[in-house]
């Protein structure tokens, strides 16, 4: 008897697909098999593992070619269903960006919805303007189109399939709306994105089989990896893919326009990669579990590039529905659909079994060492910490008279009320004190504002300034995460620096 082979090739797998005896498991099924029977058996029995993800992928879009009008036009500006589309090339090539928003229904309808409508076979209205040339004399155009009228309609996504992503929370006192959806104040919810153990790149973290030319499931049709995605950052397990595929053959079930309140529009993309099990190492890698995939819990209330990380958490915990942060139980929900991710991997499995999908070897592997650098900035912007100054404070048991004196001697308009530990309790303004005098009130408790709008030292001054305008107030106590008062920033500080 000959020794059992320790490797198999993509060609061998394709031959099996042709013969109809290929063994395909979804990532879900593979993990169970490895757990029950071990890596060796799994390698022997399984040729391909199908993965999948279905999430909002903002860096998505579609290239379309309209054909020429008569007389011809060299488009300068164009809109599809009132969504501005960009004209990156010659006369009638357009790019529909998923995040461009409708001018009539901003935040509700955008490029992602235009792509979904076109894929569904719906008619889309095109408007265009141009400056007119001798060869392209036309300056105005209005028509309706379906995907059948387009010469090319290719999905072209420059960053898809993030290997893993942050878990987002909000420690501030106000609800914030982000690309990680609605985040309630004071850690009342958390959101995360990504399919975890079902994610294509997580199942082949060394990119042994995924690279330029890898045929994939894309939006319900077949597509290709055309290289590393933008912001590809493999060293810290944040790999991404750039992909393209013929959108005319895709399905609206796997390409869905999305609207994130006060953030904008996007496109949910279904993407699945078949991982050929070429060796035992790949059998082992495709057995990765959610408990082994760790990500950061990030505080999105800090409007900075480097936001505070509150802890690390596994996808297993994230998918359990709740996590613990600072001893507090926080309910957590997914933004990407695990249900659809599974459907992607199952559909891809059935295509391979039916012999309608063949595997490819990449012509070039994804880089393993590229680094995602921050932007080079030549201008510094001011932050709250650069203008804040020490706050004049008082405690809750002080008399109004004493506070009035302090306002005069320190020549300030705001006195911050703190407890013995220096934590924020309230704020009193010179106006509050004046009115208290007029009305004969003596106790601080009668006049202090307890629901105080605050700022954090790391915030850009611009944002603090907007908050003051929003609440029609002229100062914000600056506090740390435990509400300890660090100082105060006033509208005067802002106008001195920003000149407004």
């Amino acid at each position: 008897m000959s020794k059992p082979t320790k490797t198999r090739s993509v060609e061998e797998i394709n031959e099996k697909i042709r013969k109809g005896d290929v063994q395909v498991l979804t990532a879900d099924e593979m993990k169970k098999l490895v757990e029950s029977s071990g890596v060796e058996v799994a390698f022997k029995e399984v040729d391909v593992v199908t993965t999948g993800t279905f999430g909002a992928m903002c860096s998505s879009g579609a290239v379309v070619n309209l054909g020429h009008s008569d007389p011809p036009i060299k488009i300068e500006h164009a809109w599809m269903n009132d969504v501005e589309v960009c004209h990156p090339g010659a006369a009638v090539d357009l790019f529909i960006g998923a995040t461009n928003m409708s001018e009539k229904q901003p935040f509700e309808y955008g490029g992602g919805h235009v792509i979904q409508d076109l894929v569904s076979g719906k008619e889309v209205e095109l408007r265009a303007t141009a400056y007119g040339t001798d060869c392209y004399p036309r300056t105005q155009l209005k028509t309706t189109l379906t995907k059948d009228d387009l010469n090319q309609f290719y999905l072209l996504n420059f960053r898809n399939c993030y290997q893993r992503y942050n878990c987002a929370v909000n420690t501030s006192d106000e609800t914030i709306y982000t690309y990680m959806s609605k985040l309630l104040p004071r850690l009342r919810n958390a959101t995360f994105s990504g399919a975890g153990e079902l994610n294509p790149l997580m199942n082949d973290p060394d990119y042994e089989t995924i690279g330029m030319g890898t045929r994939i499931f894309l939006g319900g049709g077949q597509g290709y990896v055309i290289g590393e995605g933008t912001q590809h950052s493999p060293k810290n397990l944040n790999g991404t893919l750039m992909v393209k595929g013929n959108a005319k053959k895709m399905s609206p079930e796997f390409l869905q326009g999305a609207a994130f309140t006060r953030y904008g529009t996007s496109l949910y993309v279904g993407l699945g990669v078949p991982i050929p099990i070429l060796n035992e190492g790949l059998a082992k890698k495709t057995a990765i579990r959610d408990s082994e995939i760790i990500t950061d819990v990030v505080d999105y209330s800090v409007p900075r590039r480097d936001r505070p990380k509150l802890r690390q958490v596994s996808y297993k915990e994230l998918k359990s529905g709740s996590i613990t942060i600072n001893d507090k139980k926080v309910r957590v929900s997914s933004l990407s659909s695990i249900k659809m991710a599974k459907k992607v991997s199952q559909t891809l499995k059935s295509w391979i079994e039916e012999g309608t999908f063949f595997l490819t070897s990449p012509v070039e592997r994804l880089p393993l060492d590229s680094v995602f650098k921050p932007m080079r900035q030549t201008e510094e912007i001011p932050f709250v910490m650069s203008v804040m100054h020490p706050a004049v404070t008082c405690t809750e048991n002080e008399e109004i008279r004493a506070i009035a004196e302090r306002i005069v001697t320190k020549s300030v308009n705001h006195i911050v009320v703190v407890d013995d530990a220096g934590k924020l309790k309230g704020i009193v303004t010179s106006w509050d004190v004046t009115r208290a005098m007029a009305e004969g009130k003596k106790a601080l408790a009668d006049i202090e504002t307890r629901n105080v709008v605050t700022a954090q030292p790391e915030e850009p001054l611009e944002i603090a300034s907007k908050r003051m305008a929003q609440h029609s107030i002229s100062a914000l106590p600056v506090v740390d995460i435990e509400k300890k008062v660090l100082g105060i920033v006033t509208s005067e500080d802002v106008s001195k620096l920003l000149g407004r």
Partner: protein
């Protein structure tokens, strides 16, 4: 238990209508949500089934608009079960089942007075339903 949406006018706000009814009829009433200011507002209350008819009558007698609310509508065609809404729901009316499908429990939902999930749905599949036209079943019978 049955849920009633009680709508108060500006004139009714200062009157202790709900407490009078609770005392008079000796029924426990849970306030699930309340949005009231000097200009009027709404209370979503829960009462035992058997008290439904007399309590509705009592509120209506005092001029309060009473409806049995239909709370939210979920468009199953649009929902792709991402689950963004799940952790937002204050009454845990939304869950994810074994097949990773998002499920809405209309019994638990407190509806339009909450609506926290509505603007968090990226598929825009959740709508809060206005209650203006809804009438409780018992009342409809009498009118026909």
């Amino acid at each position: 238990m049955v849920r009633l949406l009680l709508r108060f006018t500006e004139e009714q706000v200062p009157q202790p209508i709900a407490s009078q009814i609770i005392i008079e009829y000796k029924i426990p009433m849970a306030i699930l949500s309340a949005h009231i200011n000097s200009k009027g507002g709404e209370i979503l209350a829960e009462i035992p089934d058997e008290a439904q008819e007399k309590i509705i009558k009592a509120f209506r007698k005092r001029g309060v608009t009473v409806t049995v609310p239909k709370l939210i509508e979920v468009d199953a065609e649009k929902c792709f079960s991402c689950g963004s809404c799940v952790a937002l729901c204050p009454v845990e009316a939304i869950s994810i089942d074994k097949d990773s499908t998002v499920q809405f429990d209309k019994e638990k939902c407190v509806g339009s007075t909450c609506s926290v999930c509505v603007d968090a749905c990226p598929a825009r599949a959740i709508k809060s339903v206005k209650q203006n036209t809804e009438q409780p079943a018992s009342n409809r019978k009498k009118q026909s």
